[in-house]
């Protein structure tokens, strides 16, 4: 694909994509090469050494295993939240922008309502109320359901600008109905934009999960990068100089989000069809 070739010419994209896909590969396939285990492999907070290259946690578990599992969870939440937020936002945005009139006004009101409600507070409240049922999926769902407003606004503006193009009139006299027009004639123009929005929503999802876990309202009985940090915090690892308890996970979170931002920025230049010409 010409698009891919162009993207590959940008160093930002190559670095960002390599980092991001690298972490995904590690999360998915590392267990094939490395024995991921939650059994005790050493002393409590043992320093990095043989058998536990990144040290152990307060229960003597191998940090590398924990990080791999944590990576999986965080990526899962990020993707889930990203997909939901982008899908909801895009659907509402495209439809409202195209239809205009009272439908647009109604959807705008809805969007504004959700913007006004601080999503993190909602996240905390819902998380806290689910004392026993806090799963990764639930957290991903909540994040997705509260952060779609940004995509909706952005997509709506684009959709609204597109509907006055003559090719929409032409599509109508070709006999295309509203759904066909939205899918064939508006969505493709927005796809690159929506994709970039998706990338940023994933990043936002990962960060939100880390944040909610760090205040102790994260998923129960699962490892995530945020949970690892929370455990480190609540076991006093920071004060005791147990750097391997919190630095690797912090680095991972930062690296993933950074990689996603790199991908997003590099795409902006390449994706715009007018710039491409």
């Amino acid at each position: 694909m010409k698009l891919l070739k162009n993207l590959l010419k940008s160093p930002m994209f190559v670095i960002g994509a390599s980092l991001f896909f690298g972490t995904i590969l590690v999360a998915l396939f590392a267990p094939l090469f490395y024995s991921v285990t939650l059994d005790r492999v050493g002393e409590q907070y043992a320093a990095p050494g043989a058998g536990h290259l990144l040290g152990t946690d307060n229960l003597g578990r191998d940090y590398i295993s924990l990080l791999i599992m944590g990576l999986r969870s965080s990526l899962y939440v990020g993707f889930l939240a990203g997909i939901i937020a982008t899908a909801v936002g895009t659907l509402l945005g495209i439809y409202g922008g195209f239809k205009g009139g009272w439908i647009d006004d109604l959807l705008n009101m809805l969007t504004n309502l959700f913007i006004v409600i601080p999503s993190f507070v909602v996240l905390i409240l819902i998380s806290a109320s689910f004392k026993d049922g806090r799963s990764l999926t639930l957290i991903g769902l909540i994040i997705g359901a509260t952060t779609w407003t940004w995509s909706a606004r952005a997509v709506r503006a684009q959709s609204s600008a597109l509907k006055s193009r003559d090719h929409i009139w032409l599509a109508r006299i070709n006999g295309d109905g509203t759904l066909a027009i939205l899918v064939k004639h508006i969505l493709p123009y927005l796809l690159s934009y929506v994709f970039m929005v998706f990338i940023l929503q994933i990043a936002s999802g990962i960060l939100s999960e880390a944040a909610i876990s760090m205040i102790g309202l994260g998923p129960l009985d699962t490892q995530s990068l945020g949970v690892i940090l929370n455990d480190a915090k609540s076991n006093g690892a920071l004060g005791d100089g147990v750097w391997w308890a919190f630095i690797p996970s912090t680095v991972l979170i930062t690296m993933i989000v950074f990689a996603l931002y790199l991908i997003n920025t590099s795409m902006e230049g390449v994706f715009n069809p007018r710039l491409r010409k």
Partner: protein, 261 residues
């Protein structure tokens, strides 16, 4: 064989937009008949309402009041209407979807037809349409809209009409965004449509010179009303409305004085 019933028939058609203080009377009471096989031009400056009138003829807008008939009855079903009445628009670049090939979009036009022809017939008709505008089908094979110039794109809009063979064509400013050389081409194709396919053509433009050359009749529109109508020679040589006089004065002609300095 041209029929007796006028193709389009308008009686006191009004179309407004907005409400209250922001009310705009885009079309403010127009009445006319357009006969089968005629080329009629609707001429006027920007904001005179001609584009809105064109969209009413296309069935894209309904009149707010008054009666507008196609072949003697109101336009009730848009899809039926578009089987027989089609359009070309002003900006050739914004008329095509940049993500699909040109050929695919030409073929997509057939989607509107009730009696959808077979795949091979569609291909044949698209080829014929391209040849009618002097483009060899292989020249646009696999090409996307952004790979062609404005003039070529405008031809594609006409190729679509040659392929579809509607009864009526509404051409909304097809020449205002292309340069003089391409303009002459487009007019040729419009004449070809009338002569070879007996198409009724409504040509909307602000260029009275073009309208003069190509039309059987001219309507001059101003602020939503038709202020002058008749054959090109009537309207231009014996204008009855000051609007027409001003429009004629405003065109830079090489033999006439234009601006006093």
């Amino acid at each position: 064989m041209p029929s007796e019933t006028p193709i389009f028939s308008a009686r006191d058609v009004v179309r407004v937009f907005g409400s209250g203080k922001k009310l705009v009377r885009a079309v403010d009471g127009v009445s006319f008949d357009i006969a089968d096989g005629e080329i009629v031009s609707i001429v006027g400056g920007s904001g005179c309402g001609k584009s809105v009138l064109a969209k009413i003829m296309l069935g894209l807008y309904k009149p707010t009041s008054g009666q507008f008939l196609y072949e003697g009855h109101e336009i009730t079903d848009q899809r039926d209407h578009w089987n027989e009445v089609q359009a070309v628009f002003q900006d050739p670049f914004s008329c095509f979807n940049q993500f699909f090939t040109i050929r695919a979009q030409l073929k997509a036009a057939f989607h509107i037809l009730k009696d959808k022809p077979s795949k091979s017939e569609i291909d044949d008709r698209v080829d014929a349409g391209l040849l009618a505008v002097n483009v060899a089908p292989k020249d646009i094979e696999g090409k996307y809209p952004f790979e062609l110039s404005g003039g070529q794109m405008q031809r594609m809009l006409l190729a679509r009409i040659f392929a579809l063979r509607p009864k009526v064509l509404i051409a909304d400013e097809p020449t205002s965004m292309v340069d003089a050389c391409v303009r002459a081409n487009i007019l040729d194709y419009l004449m070809k449509l009338k002569v070879e396919l007996s198409m009724t053509i409504v040509f909307v433009t602000h260029d009275i010179g073009l309208a003069y050359y190509v039309s059987d009749r001219l309507f001059i529109m101003h602020e939503g009303k038709i202020v002058d109508a008749g054959t090109p020679d009537d309207v231009i040589l014996k204008p009855t409305s000051p609007v027409t006089v001003r429009l004629l004065d405003d065109i830079p002609e090489i033999h006439k004085e234009w601006i006093k300095r």
